[in-house]
């Protein structure tokens, strides 16, 4: 990554961090309901991979920890926040919520709440790309615990068999809710599990964006060149609880502190400062500016947007209900 790109990415990562922290606050104020899964600590994963890919063009799919992935693909933070507020102006018109952010225009194919569910969907998106002959790729970001679902294995098999252009990114944060990986999974290093399907893979530090980027470069190039799937495992950590009702009794504060010593944002910041590309004052000013943007634009938009109309409750259930098509009436097209 060039210095200019690194500076831009640092800014994006700060936005991602501050956005999520602001969500936390809004949740406490009961502006956001339901489940809320936050991303702080893992920013280098999404950012490092997507810097090596083409955000907005390549198709991205993920689980319920999805706000940052959507924004990185090009979704407007205002619309993402409005979605969390359940507003009509939200990314999914208030019908989805935190776990179901979508931005089809930017090829962000969603936010899914069934652990492992996106695996085959990602392969299907790759199948569609293959049929249409484009040079986009599908990128599937999921957690470590998702790999214990049957569809993980089913999908790896099919993706390898049919050489589908899909990159699986495993954000291994060592926990699935409150169960640590040693307690749920016979193999800690997830990339070893894909070897059985003849899929090339790599594991790397998920906290250092330069390392993530470097490995993602290889992975993305491999997939885009038509060589079939690739599996990239990023060792990372989520700072907050799994969702909002999590007091983190299953792990020690020392372990958390140890990971925070290698914070993805601060590591990149310090590297840029050492390279004389940034000062601490620049960084602090940037943080302030981003906080102001979030408050004055993002939150304001979400607060002031209208609720969906109750009359529209059943809108979007069936496509053909909305457009009386010939295959409903039985008349030839």
């Amino acid at each position: 990554m060039k210095i200019e790109d690194k500076k831009r990415v640092l800014r994006e990562m700060v936005l991602h961090r501050r956005f999520e922290e602001r969500c936390y606050q809004a949740y406490i104020e009961r502006k956001i309901g339901g489940f809320l899964h936050l991303y702080p600590g893992q920013e280098a994963c999404c950012n490092g991979v997507m810097e090596a890919a083409r955000p907005g063009q390549d198709y991205v799919i993920t689980g319920y920890r999805d706000h940052v992935h959507a924004i990185k693909c090009g979704a407007d933070p205002k619309e993402v926040m409005a979605e969390l507020y359940g507003k009509e102006t939200g990314s999914s018109k208030g019908r989805g919520g935190s776990m179901h952010i979508f931005d089809a225009a930017h090829h962000f194919m969603g936010g899914y709440a069934l652990v492992g569910g996106p695996f085959p969907l990602a392969a299907g998106i790759a199948k569609a790309i293959q049929l249409k002959g484009g040079d986009e790729i599908a990128i599937c970001f999921l957690g470590d615990a998702a790999n214990n679902q049957g569809v993980f294995h089913e999908t790896l098999n099919m993706a390898a068999l049919w050489k589908l252009p899909v990159l699986f990114v495993c954000e291994n944060n060592l926990y699935g809710i409150g169960t640590s990986i040693e307690r749920s999974t016979a193999v800690i290093h997830q990339h070893k599990r894909v070897a059985a399907y003849n899929i090339p893979s790599a594991e790397c530090d998920g906290q250092d964006i330069d390392i993530v980027y470097q490995h993602a470069r290889t992975a993305v190039d491999h997939v885009r060149a038509g060589n079939g799937p690739y599996f990239l495992e990023l060792m990372t950590y989520r700072y907050r609880g799994h969702s909002m009702s999590d007091s983190r009794g299953y792990r020690s504060r020392e372990e958390e502190e140890e990971w925070k010593q290698r914070d993805p944002i601060f590591m990149l910041r310090d590297r840029l400062i050492t390279a004389d590309a940034l000062t601490l004052a620049d960084f602090e000013a940037m943080e302030k500016e981003i906080d102001a943007y979030i408050e004055n634009e993002v939150i304001k938009f979400a607060e002031e947007s209208p609720e969906p109309r109750v009359e529209d409750l059943e809108k979007y259930v069936l496509a053909d209900r909305e457009s009386q098509q010939p295959w409903l009436t039985g008349k030839a097209a």
Binding site: Y59, I61, G90, S91, S92, K93, G94, R95, G96, H100, F102, D103, A104, A105, M109, G110, Y112, L114, G117, F119, P120, L121, A122, A123, G124, I125, A126, K127, A128, I129, Q130, L131, K132, G150, V151, E154, T155, N157, M158, L161, W162, K315, Y316, V317, L318, A319, D320, S323, Q325, P326, W327, L328, T329, G330, K331, A332, A333
Partner: protein
Amino acid sequence: MAQIMLWEAIQRAHDEEMSRDPLVICMGEDIGVAGGTYKATKGLYEKYGPLRVMDTPISEGGFTGLAIGASFLGVRPIVEIMSVNFAWLAMDQMFNSAAKIRYMSGGQIEAPCVFRSAGGAAHQLGAQHSARMEKVFMGVAGLRVVTPSNPKQAYGLLKSAIRSNDPVFINEHELMYNMKGEVPDSEYFHPLEGSDIARSGTDVTLFGYNISVHWCLKAAEILDKQYGISAEVVDLYSLAPLDRAGIKQSVSKTHRVVIAEEDEAPVGVGSEIIAIINEECFFELDAAPVRVHSALVPQPYNHTLEKAAIPDHEDVVKAVLKLFGKA
């Protein structure tokens, strides 16, 4: 109009749609090189090749999800699930991904997928290969469910399902693939919603769908010849949504109702039709509606027990006679 078998009708719908639109593809176990367990995809592999006619591994959840993901980008996959008993493994993807995607994305993404599957009790296939599961599919928001009773419907419903932007589950019957019937020579789309009057009558309405339409038709014949009772047979080829208007219309005409279904009764098509009658036209009824259905048992292997578990046209006749106080 040519007389063709039901599997040929399905094959023809595949072929026409695949030759028209390169984004129509099909997939399933043994559908390609082997030509399909029920021949419904015979010859397509040779014509369209392995990229569009995909023999899948035995991974129902996986390949169904893969089809759904492809449909998000405008591909129109027709997924064959060899037997509806295996569809349980695919339901997570059908229900959680296909049926909900349009709603939860605020209309941004659609899943124009078709899932076809053979269900019903064939002969002595035992508990794990004899299920009827339409009741499970018909209560899911965002999913259409249709079920053909003859080759014309099989052809026309599949054509419409492929063109539809909604996910459609097509419930076929293992015993009906070789049934012959007339199918229009020119292209034909059967509506995905509504119902067909399979036989018109005045004294009682027999509601059926898929194989039970044939029990109803046979029963209507007997009722007419031997008992002078004129039965109307309504073919509910669309199970989701059910044709409220059609149900009301027929009940308002005959005032008596028998519902025949191969599925077990609890939480089924029959109970739903009775609920609709209650809501739409309760005071049109001259007698309480009667359900004819399977026993609530895992399908027994033994021939005699199997026959006892599954209803047929004689049970429909008996139910009607009871309604008229003749039994």
